[in-house]
């Protein structure tokens, strides 16, 4: 749960007030998710497919946001996620799921407020990608033997 907070992606998303701010923060949040997923692929063999697919969905989301006309051209770039190498893969998955939930909410809200079809379509597509990440990372049963 702490991961996305420490990377700054969560607070940026919450603080974003305008559509360009939401889009810029979403771009960075998807990047954080992608980097976290890639860094965690090797931790648990049974979770390789989950993390790889989540990274793929994060790229989809980032590409969708990139297509939004209101995305500001510059950018600070995503801060490197602060997940330690020895952080439990399940904890990382929980953090990614929480960030994806927040992303989905903000993007759906932004879609509703968008004035142009381009922004609305981009926000909806990105929200759909966030939904997929959430679905992939949400924990169903906690099988201790997999850890």
């Amino acid at each position: 749960m702490v991961m996305h907070e420490s990377s700054g992606a969560g607070p940026s998303l919450r603080q974003a007030a305008t559509l360009p701010d939401v889009l810029a923060a979403s771009f960075d949040a998807f990047e954080v998710i992608r980097l976290l997923a890639r860094a965690s692929e090797d931790q648990v063999p049974a979770l390789l497919a989950a993390f790889m697919t989540a990274a793929d969905a994060a790229v989809d989301g980032r590409e969708a946001v990139t297509a939004a006309p209101s995305l500001p051209s510059g950018g600070e770039g995503a801060g490197a996620p602060a997940a330690a190498a020895d952080t439990d893969a399940w904890v990382i998955a929980d953090g990614m799921a929480a960030l994806a939930v927040l992303l989905g909410e903000r993007l759906r809200h932004a879609a509703a407020l968008s004035l142009t079809a381009g922004d609305r379509g981009a926000c909806e597509a990105a929200a759909e990608a966030a939904g997929r990440i959430c679905q992939l990372m949400a924990r169903g049963h906690d099988d201790a033997s997999l850890r």
């Binding site: 992939l136 990372m137 169903g140």
Partner: protein, 646 residues
Amino acid sequence: MTPVFGEFLGPAGRHITAAASFRDELPDAAKYGAIRQLERLATTLARYVGDLDLPDEFDPGSDLGLDFDVRPALDARTALRRAASSLRRTATTVCDTAADDEHPSVMHLRAAADYLAAGRDLLRTHFAAPPGGEMARNSFWAPLLTSGQLTAALLTELAALARQLAPWAAQLSVTGPMSSGDSIALHVASRWMWIAGASIESAQRQQPPPASARQLLISVPANVPPARRPPDGPEPVAGLSEGITITSERLRHAAAAFASQARWSPAANSVSWRRDALASAITGHCSEFILRALAQRAAELCIDPAIPARLAAAADVMATVWPAWRSVAHHWDIVSTGTSTGAGISPVAAESGDLALRLGRLAYRNPQWTPACSETSLVRIPEDLAATPEDISRVLSAVHQATDATTRIATEDREAVRAAAFDNRLYVPTRMMPDGWDMPYRYSPAPASFVDDLLITYDTAIMANKHAVAVLDDLAAAIGTPSHLLGMARTISASQQAQLKHLSDAPAEPQQPDMLPQPGPLGRILRDLQISEPRALLRAAAIDKAAHDLTAQAKAQSQRRGRSQRHPNPLRTSLRSRSRVLPQPGNAYTKSVKREVITAATTRFAPVMSSVARRSGSLKHRRGTDVVIRLAWLAVVRSVLASFET
């Protein structure tokens, strides 16, 4: 399941044997029926041999690089054509006579002719004949079908049928109720059939085709993908294995079909290639688990002690495959073909997920496994995966099929990515570039180092996949899995390529850097003008493809016209002599054809051109693009006319 050639060839042979077993003299009405069916059979046999990729009888210089003696095949082709011609004459003269088509021997002959015709249709599904164009290979089986070994195997089968029919036709010629002229024609036909059979058999007595070639021939499937079977609910191991085989077959079809569109289709985009890489990585990862479980189970079942070790070795090889694919997927995190809203994904990418899902369900205990964390589970216990040695064979076959399919997809994807790179259609998000990266657009052209790295990772993944496929080919042959045909086909294909390479001294792999696909006239113009807008480039590729098709069509029409002028059809000649309404070659004629081509080109390209112009950016940019498009349009029309004139 998809029908295979053996399902038609086998019954055809049995029906001919049954018909030839009638030694008693047939009633006259049945003889007429038999003559008609014999004519159908001889015509079909002649068409089979006519379809073969053989050199022209009168062109000794033509050499197709076949690794067998073509002279007997040419003799057989001539003999069967003459047999069919003789029988056609006899059949025409008796066509008005009442015939008994219900006599058992006639029914057998009719069934044999039907089966043979259907078998030929099946083989021809592997070749496409565009209107006015020449036959083109249309599937992964097509190069095999034109290989020397399969050609020789097919000729052996046809020769055996002709040899069975010849004495029977001869007997009919001496007992038949026809006129002496028809009897002689029937006898002549029987002689030609005998010559056809004998010429092939005598040649192949010295150099018989390998048994594997016949086995492969009868296993050639129709070039029709099996119906999709989406993985919706839990399936037993047998169902999963069958589903993997079906999906692999569908993916092979889709990869071959999409390859020709990869240069211009909007669905040939980074999303599709990224999905393919993801599915290949998951498929390889699950395959490794499955092979390890199979190795353990083979040891438990105490089958041949070499098999568990070979299965374990195959698992080790598979352990190098999926990391290579993961590396490809990592590269696609950054590189992109730009925004592709509404373009969709390729048919391969749309279905490659099915393969990964089923392999996952085969590898893990959870029957409803998905990549989601909520569905993670432990890997299957070996006994659950394969209770008996037959189960080992079935599951190994599924893994083999999946690995073969991903290898073929990978090869097509690499070529498509290479073409996209050459067309400058690969980008990176500008926001992800370092500070000071001066680019006012959302995407920047991908730096050359990124593209090189991407292509290198593809090469590495393909090499790893090919190694795994080779190991699985050997293993499948040793265990005798249903998929062992894949390895057999690869061996014959490799020997054919080696033969061609030896003859032409050309490089076997056409993927050298100096042989990159070249953009068409419009693509070159846009590239020279440094226009890198993805949609404009994609449309340019589409227009170039359309121009290429139109050129090919015009050339084919021109060639047909030339042929008909060199070898005038009597019917056409008589029509021409009666009425001089057809245009004659000359200035007026050429001008009218030019006008026709310009009209066709205008109709075909104008909407696309205006659409490109409409969609390209600012007014200033649009005006510039308009000029470019007009120039390009003229270049395309000129190239069409130039190729037409040549």
